[in-house]
């Protein structure tokens, strides 16, 4: 755990800012290019630089590259819901382009990723994982504001009915339910500052991030039973922590929790593949 406290060598951080791709990347000195990179998605306040300066220690500790696409306020006002940006490009397509460009630049494969999202970024990450489950080695969603529930009767982004919402995309619960997932939320994250509130969301999901995380984890586990796959979703409600990222890092041991989740991924995956229902010939 010593390496998790190391300061960031300034030369290793890159910012690539172009019309179609805008991201930060960090390559640890001892990077293992065979490992899936950690891909971090920032929250609605878009503090990507400050957060990457903290999170680079995860990259050092796991020998993985770190990529953090930047969704600017001007271009991507609704990225959390995979919405279209002001240039007409959908957030998930922009994200794909960032991953492809960063992967090429760093010389790492982004075919599979360790996906880490904070707040609005956790919203984005779990929805992206639902559309591309085969690419996610582990989804770590921290303090998401609200969730897409595994309910095919509700229109996206409340549920999985994508017709007219996500063009030409169909969400397969049996696939995304097996993605190893860790949900983290501060037990005191009950303030509604920057939390999307509406009668519909409150009724479906609850009125705090804590309540919403609990209900989503339960809904995912129930759906896994319905689809007869093993639920692969861990829940960690961290005492004494509110919605402040720096506080979560300093007093909620966020990095250690995420590191442990990343390191436990292979075990989770083994559990996931064994549970798929099959019929004797």
């Amino acid at each position: 755990m010593n390496s998790i406290a190391s300061p960031m060598p300034p030369h290793a951080l890159q910012r690539v800012s172009q019309a179609r791709t805008d991201y930060l990347s960090y390559l640890p000195r001892n990077v293992d290019r065979g490992l899936a990179p950690i891909v971090f998605v920032h929250g609605y306040s878009r503090r990507v630089h400050e957060q990457v300066e903290v999170l680079h220690r995860l990259a050092d500790a796991t020998r993985r590259a770190l990529i953090a696409p930047h969704f600017t306020r001007e271009l991507h006002p609704r990225y959390q819901r995979l919405g279209k940006g002001s240039d007409g490009q959908r957030a998930d397509h922009y994200f794909d382009a960032c991953l492809a460009a960063a992967g090429q630049c760093l010389g790492v494969s982004t075919k599979r990723v360790m996906l880490l999202g904070y707040s609005g970024g956790a919203q984005f990450c779990h929805r992206w994982a639902m559309t591309r489950p085969e690419r996610v080695e582990h989804l770590i969603a921290v303090a998401a504001g609200w969730y897409t529930f595994p309910n095919p009767d509700l229109a996206f982004p409340y549920g999985l009915a994508t017709a007219g919402r996500l063009r030409r995309v169909s969400l397969d619960p049996a696939s995304f339910l097996t993605v190893p997932t860790t949900v983290l939320v501060g037990a005191e994250d009950r303030d509604s500052v920057n939390l999307r509130r509406s009668p519909r969301i409150d009724a479906q999901q609850g009125d705090t991030r804590v309540e919403r995380a609990r209900r989503w984890v339960l809904a995912m586990r129930m759906a896994a039973r319905l689809y007869r796959v093993d639920a692969n979703i861990a829940y960690q409600e961290v005492p004494g922590i509110d919605h402040d990222f720096d506080n979560f890092v300093a007093h909620g041991h966020l990095l250690e929790l995420v590191l442990a989740a990343i390191q436990e991924t292979p075990r989770l995956q083994d559990g996931g593949s064994a549970g798929v229902n099959s019929r004797a010939a």
């Binding site: 755990m1 998790i4 406290a5 529930f149 309910n151 095919p152 009767d153 009915a161 994508t162 017709a163 007219g164 063009r167 030409r168 995309v169 169909s170 397969d172 619960p173 049996a174 609990r214 209900r215 984890v217 339960l218 809904a219 129930m222 759906a223 319905l226 689809y227 007869r228 796959v229 861990a234 829940y235 960690q236 409600e237 961290v238 005492p239 041991h253 250690e256 929790l257 442990a260 798929v276 229902n277 099959s278 019929r279």
Partner: protein, 390 residues
Amino acid sequence: MGDIQSIDAWRSRVVEDSEKILAEVAPPQDPAPEARRIADGAAVAAAAPWAFSTRRVDRSAVTGLDKSSAPRAGDLVLARVDALGHHANLQLADGRRRRLFVDDHIVIAYGNRYACEQFEARVPQHLGPCHLVAGGGIAALALSWHDRISRGPTRISPLGLLTGPAGRPLNLGDFALEPRGHGAALPPVIAIVGTAMDAGKTQTAAYLVRGLRAAGYRTGYLKITGTGAGGDTWLLHDAGADRVLDFTDAGMASTYLAPLERIEAAMDTLLQDMADHGIDTVVMEVADGVYQRETRELIASARFAARVRGIVIAARDAMGASAAVTSLAATTIPVLALSGLLSASPLQRREAQQATGLSSANREELATAAVAAALRDQALAAGMQRAVGA
């Protein structure tokens, strides 16, 4: 940050406490209670409309519903219509297009679908909600679809797999034509191969069948690959084919993702059936374009080369025809002519002839005894040469 041991212990405590909290939260409502409410699945299935894809099934064999097994391609499923999308009608076994309504119960079959102009869809590993991906009655999970399909796929909820006397799920394969031993000699086969879906393959086949019949041949039509739907086979009935079969008669809901050996075996079973019914020429349509996986593998197979005497390419335009000829270069089967949508345009026909050296025939020409018989003779003569050359 503290040392590892204390953080690990703290983390274990967090995980443990979090699970305790979850255990006390009221669970969300069970999303699919209806399947459990249906007590007599066989009775509900008997009253439901049965799709074209299930037309060979003996309905009296149904004993109940299996609500827990993972479906396989060809399994029969009782499903409820949840929301109408692209397919608002269901082709029934008798050919009627039945209008669908939300909450209808229907009997269809699971199958994979590959259709560039419509859906890419796969049989899911579960009985959860999925889609009606073909009007002939195919259940699968739609993964992608053509931009033109603005409403997306029709959504359905499977209520259970139909089971047979042993309580096991019934599969279309249980009702397939039996493979026969060597009976009558197999008739010569002319294959219709295309550049893509909707290149005019079925029209080409229909008019060629008319021409061959006009020339006095007992002509059969066989669609060897594709997705179970009635449109093509009914067109060929209307065109006067003496016998019409497709892969569903060999027990397959569709051929996408089916192993080559299975498709080859179906081809032989169906051709033998044609021979046993006195058919002396078979027009065999291969679905989709030559780049499609099963089409490509089938055309390249030795069994296909042994059965097929000649190929007619259906293409939308000259460049497509040229690419198809190039990609067929490895096969020993002669390309007899070009047809399809391009044959409606004199300029495209001219371009195609210049590019490939092959002549083309439009629908009216194919339907004449002279052109059809000449194509057949050309195929048989080339077959003789191939045999002598070998």
